[in-house]
């Protein structure tokens, strides 16, 4: 079980640690800066933090125990002379890293490999702990990539990267919006997955098109990789065949809308969500902040409220802001209004660590 959490916020990277009596903020790095996501590489202990300095661009920093150092940031290749690319609204897409939206360690047999997903849709891989990055051109140059669109952000982006724990060359990514993509050769070639997902709000021709799906978050059970869970703009979907096809889960109270999902590392039928009123309001229903949990593959859900505010709570939990530790017992999440909660009993009860953080973008057990 992990006793440490990295909390990426609009105004810094906070370390939250388990003390004798409670969880406490024990360190703040990059105070005042916009930290979009952070990662601890459990293979070597290195930590990574992605910063968005706005005017000055996106940067990556790494800590190996002797303080943080700026490392290389993924950079897009030169756009061919005269080539123009536009999004669906006709705006030009600049081939430049606009946000680091996903950081994941490679497999256990690939020390130093880090994957990075970005806006406007580039996937990058480093073989040397972020000293340099290679764009995965096979995906960026895929003709269907140009059908990706902005979802919550103006530009399309890769937010979920799942590396098969049994075979590091097999990787799934999810795009908002652009569906789920899979490689089984380390990124040399890609195929689109996700039959069965449904975008009710899309034009009829695109409702069931896998590339039109706005996946908010993709989670995969480590012990049973065939099981994937998706929190989608349209609701909750579950797969039993590694994302080839999905089944929609409906009728979940208080809502199937949300951004985040985590799945138990050994129990594929157990998953957690943080529901919001869909989709134009995006606040907890009736001002009651709850977590939903299924233990039976989505047949039924429990609504977990103990320790969470049940009156005038307007916390939104972003897609990376719900975390589960490797033991499958501890959960933590942070909200856009600065609330932060930890559970040590799979969500049965929650303790508020603070409700005065800056807006929380990502939570990660270190």
């Amino acid at each position: 079980m992990s006793d440490t959490l990295l909390v990426s916020t609009r105004k810094g990277l906070f370390t939250v640690a388990r003390k004798a009596k409670q969880w406490e903020i024990t360190a703040v790095d990059f105070l005042g800066d916009n930290v979009t996501i952070a990662l601890t590489d459990r293979r070597d202990g290195a930590r990574y933090a992605a910063l968005d300095h706005g005017h000055f661009g996106v940067k990556l920093h790494r800590s190996t125990g002797n303080g943080w150092e700026e490392i290389a940031v993924p950079a897009y290749p030169p756009k061919p002379e005269g080539y123009e690319e536009h999004d669906m609204w006709g705006r030009p897409i600049n081939w430049s890293t606009t946000r680091v939206w996903a950081l994941e360690a490679g497999g256990a047999d690939e020390p130093g490999v880090i994957w990075c997903g970005t806006l406007p849709g580039g996937l990058f891989r480093s073989n040397n702990r972020g000293q340099s990055w290679d764009m995965i051109r096979s995906l960026w140059d895929h003709p269907k990539r140009k059908q990706w669109m902005g979802g919550g952000a103006d530009l399309p982006g890769i937010h979920s990267i799942r590396v098969d724990p049994r075979n590091s060359k097999r990787v799934w990514i999810a795009v908002s919006t652009g569906g789920i993509w899979f490689t089984e050769d380390g990124g040399a070639s890609w195929s689109l997955r996700g039959e069965g997902m449904r975008a009710e709000y899309a034009p009829p021709e695109q409702t069931h098109d896998p590339i039109a799906q706005d996946v908010h978050c993709l989670a995969q059970c480590r012990a049973a990789t065939q099981r994937m869970w998706v929190q989608h703009h349209n609701g909750i979907f579950v797969s039993s065949n590694e994302g080839e096809s999905f089944t929609e889960i409906t009728g979940v109270e208080p809502s199937t809308f949300g951004f985040a999902v985590v799945v138990h590392p050994r129990e594929p039928d157990t998953a957690w969500f943080v529901p919001e009123i869909k989709d134009e309001k995006r606040i907890p229903r009736e001002g009651k902040l709850v977590v939903t949990r299924t233990r039976n593959g989505g047949k039924s859900f429990e609504v977990l409220t103990k320790g969470l505010p049940q009156s005038h709570a307007y916390d939104v939990v972003y897609r990376h802001a719900l975390a589960l530790d490797e033991g499958g017992e501890r959960l933590a999440f942070g909200s856009t209004t600065g609330g932060f909660w930890v559970s040590e009993d799979q969500g049965d009860s929650w303790a508020c660590v603070t409700h005065t953080l800056p807006p929380v973008y990502a939570v990660h057990f270190a």
């Binding site: 005017h55 000055f56 030169p78 600049n94 081939w95 430049s96």
Partner: protein, 89 residues
């Protein structure tokens, strides 16, 4: 040699003292600075080597026109100011 002055706001991230450089265009003098401070490039230019969206450059008090190729002329006596917009929160 042209004089190049960087916004104080960038100094929090990377130390860029006032510099002098030869060159006939904004691109020339910036490249000369980046040769000595390679990490500075990504703070001023985007991945396509164009000026970042919220950055701006003045040459002798005039805002540059070519934000992509940075071809605006610079003379030996020019002063080049690299600034950022004061937006955000």
């Amino acid at each position: 040699m042209a004089k190049i002055v960087f916004t104080p706001n960038i100094q929090r991230h990377i130390a860029l003292p006032q510099a002098e450089a030869s060159g006939r265009t904004v691109r020339d003098v910036l490249e000369a600075v980046f040769a000595d401070h390679p990490q500075a490039r990504g703070y001023v230019l985007d991945d396509q080597s164009a000026l970042r969206k919220h950055m701006t450059i003045f040459v002798d008090g005039q805002i540059i026109h070519d934000r992509t190729r940075l071809t605006d002329a610079v003379s030996e006596s020019s002063t080049v100011y690299v600034f950022q917009a004061l937006s955000g929160g």
